[in-house]
Structures are given as structure tokens and as C-alpha cells.
Symmetry: none
Subunit: 225 residues, 2 copies
DNA sequence: TGATTTCTTCACAGAGAGTTCACATTAGCC
DNA sequence: GGCTAATGTGAACTCTCTGTGAAGAAATCA
């Protein structure tokens, strides 16, 4: 059963979405503001979150940002009032999957929900673990283990590793890595990426050599040896 | 370089999108209607297609449907006029990746382009290969394998090989090779190209003879023997 | 708030890659 | 077969890119 959390301060809008979502066979829960949404996400499992932007207590973006800390892959659809253009862009930045402009048609919203679920379920189906010999990444626990021993990675190192590993066997350009792991608008030093690769390699010990340098291009995580 | 095909019957809209897309570093081409878009997609390579729905000759949906026959993974963004709700839903059905409602802001369109490219990069990158007997080039991994054994090529050697192979069976002049692989602004020594060809041949071992010298012209990669 | 961790920047070193050059070799032409 | 112009070759040189440690800045935590 697919569970959707509907977050909006207007009860009428929540009810409307609930009605249609149930009709599509989804299980629903509601939250009145960002704070409540964050709390519910910490306690319960959801497959998708619908989130209004303008809300009392905690706005939609801050809420998504907060939720993403513990659930980095939980799909989010934002609801934005017409004209909130800045919000839209900011939304994609935070890592929102889609947004719908109010007033929206319920059919449209349902279509977008289905599209996103289809897209993310594929990724989720591939298991929430990555294993390569003695290297184990547990995505849900956000931990990395080498030969049975838990290793400590900084947030950036972990994200970098995950992106590399999820694209194992594929050459990733420096731009791709920077724009994905650091964000679309990173304009920092050229050595930032190298430095994190260095730290990551150091922590990966024997598996460091799986991160291959592609001179003039970027890096690639080897699928096998 | 990311290439985007912009399809709309209104020249003004095309120009607007072209302007912003170029600004974002994309390479662009235009089509006036669905028919032209289909033809261009068959002849040239694009990374993304932007497509208006209402057009003379061939409408957007039919065009996407047609394009998908030969390019099932080519991302498409539809442009729909306000109120064409049915179109939207139908669009997702055809397998459109996203749509933007007119009148749209250019920033919003660019954000959606970036979002989709990011999403499809992974899928698009994998499974792209060239095979000739025991010679295998994996474009996504950026690796070359000979008889099952991975060989190491320098960046220039790899690019040179890729360009030759992508134009297998076609005579390429020295000027073409230099301006494509080195860049149109290369004014170096005559021996530079030879030297790289030499190194490439050495690395290709038994397959070296596939790079044929065309005296007074350039080189050609043999399609078969 | 202060302490600690993490991230970014910077200067420099080193390795790898690219270019140039002198000369050898080859192919085509008479 | 010799001549000429073009390509092939090895080695030296130069350059560009990545790796690295250290230090300062920023974020996080207590």
C-alpha cells in the first residue's frame, strides 16, 4: 500500500487531495504544517509527501530540507501558489521532485504522483543496500561497512560515495559530480572535489582503487575488478 | 555538449527558448513542426526535445510518438497552452517526461530541463556500446576492451578512437580530425596527429590495422575487414 | 558560547599526457 | 629504380591536470 502524506494548512485542500488519492488507491495521512510533517515522517513511513510552500510554523522548503536529512530519497511534490516563481526554482534546488501550481486540477496532481512513484519505485526496487565484496553500503541506515567493520564518513563523503556507487561502471564528469553532490549552483574551487575524493579514498582503505580517476573527465566507480 | 531540439511553430517562442538555452550552455536546433522534428531526430543526435502540442503538419504528441519509435529514451518536454488539460494527461501517457504550461517563464523551463537531464543521465549513459569482433568500446564507462582485456588509453587517444569509430567506413581528413578532437583552434605541429595515431595503434594491438592511412587525406576506421 | 567536526581554499609537487623535433620509412610518381 | 612528399617513430621537452597537506572558514554539536 502506497502511503502519501498531505501537508497543507488549508483543510479544504487536504480533503480534496485525500479524496482523490484514496480514489486512486493510496493510503493517506495529513499534516497541517511543516513541523507536523517532519514529525510524522520521523515516526511513520511514507512513500511520497505533498507539501504546500506557504505554511505557518515551518514552511514547505524548510520541512523538505529537514525531512531529507533522514529520508534523502523520499519523493516530494510541492504545491505553490501562482506567481511564486522564486519558490519553484528554490524547490528544485532543495531536491524536490516536482511541483504543482495552485489552483491545480486533481487529475493533474494524480498524474504527477503516479509519474514520480513510477520513477522512484524503480530505484527503490533495486534494494536499499549496495555490496561489493567486503564493502557494504546500507542506504536506509546510512552506514558503510568494510570487511564487517563500520567506517565513519562525513556527509559529503557519504553522498559522494553513494552517487559514485549508484552509477558504478559509468564515467561521471567533474561537473556531474559537483552539480549533483554539491548542488546545481556550486562555483567553488577546482580542488574541492579532489580533496573529497582523497578523503573518501583514504577512508575506503583497500577499496580506494575502485574510484578510478579519468583524467580530463572525472571519476568512475568500478563495477568489479 | 548537450543538444536540445526546440519545436514550435511560433518563431518568437523558439527564439526565446534558444536564447535562454544557449545562455545555459546548451547547443540548440529548431524545428517548425512535428514533421520537421521527427526528421531532424532521425538524422541528428539530440539529448532533449522541447515540443509544442498544437502545430501544423504534425502535432506534438504524434511527433513524440514517432520519435520514440527510434529513440525510446530521448527525453521530451511538452509545451501546452493553458487549459489543455486533457493534453497534459495524454502527454504523460505517451511517455513525455514533463510539460510546461504556456505562458511559462524561461527560468522555469531551464530548471525543468536541468532536472530531466539529471534524471535521465544515468539511464542514457548505460548500455551505449560499440563492438567489432573482440574490440569493445563502452561509451558510458569510457573504457576500451580487447578480447576481454581492458586496455588503457590516454584521453586524446580515447577521443580519437571514438571519433574514428563513430565515423567508421568514412574517410576523415586530417583537418576534420584535428578540428574535432583537438578543437577548431588548434594550430600545432603536423606530426601531432601522426603521433597520436601511432600511440593509438600501438594500444589497439591486433586491431591497429583497422585504422587505415589515406595518404594525402587522413585516416579511416574500417567497418569490417 | 566554545569545542569539534567538516568543508573549502590555496600553493605546490608530481605524474601523466601532449607536443615538438629530427630523422627514418614508405608510397606514389616519373 | 630513383625522387619527392607524406607519414611513422622515438625521445626530449613542456604543459596540464590531479593529488596532497595545511590552514582557514563554516557548520554542527554540546
Amino acid at each position: 500500500m502506497t502511503r502519501i502524506l498531505i501537508t497543507d494548512d488549508e483543510a479544504k485542500i487536504r480533503e480534496l487531495i485525500v479524496k482523490y488519492a484514496r480514489h486512486e488507491g493510496f493510503d493517506t495521512d495529513e499534516a497541517e504544517n511543516g513541523m507536523e510533517a517532519v514529525e510524522k515522517c520521523e515516526r511513520e513511513h511514507f512513500d511520497l509527501v505533498i507539501m504546500d510552500i506557504m505554511m505557518p510554523e515551518l514552511d514547505g522548503f524548510s520541512a523538505v530540507k529537514e525531512i531529507r536529512k533522514t529520508h534523502p530519497d523520499l519523493p516530494c511534490i510541492m504545491l505553490s501558489a501562482l506567481g511564486e516563481e522564486y519558490d519553484r526554482i528554490h524547490g528544485f534546488d532543495v531536491g524536490v521532485d516536482d511541483y504543482v501550481v495552485k489552483p491545480f486540477s486533481s487529475k493533474e496532481l494524480m498524474m504527477r504522483i503516479h509519474a514520480i512513484l513510477k520513477r522512484t519505485q524503480r530505484a527503490a526496487a533495486s534494494g536499499d543496500q549496495f555490496v561489493l565484496k567486503g564493502l557494504l553500503i546500507d542506504y536506509s541506515a546510512r552506514t558503510v561497512t568494510i570487511d564487517g567493520e563500520r567506517i565513519q564518513l562525513s556527509p559529503k563523503e557519504y553522498e559522494l560515495l553513494v552517487y559514485l556507487v549508484r552509477n558504478a561502471g559509468i564515467a561521471l564528469t567533474r561537473e556531474q559530480l559537483l552539480s549533483t553532490v554539491w548542488g546545481y549552483d556550486f562555483f567553488g574551487d577546482d580542488r574541492t572535489l579532489d580533496t573529497h575524493i582523497k578523503l573518501l579514498r583514504r577512508n575506503l582503505k583497500d577499496y580506494a582503487s575502485y574510484i578510478v580517476t579519468l583524467r580530463g573527465v572525472g571519476y568512475r566507480f568500478e563495477k568489479a575488478d
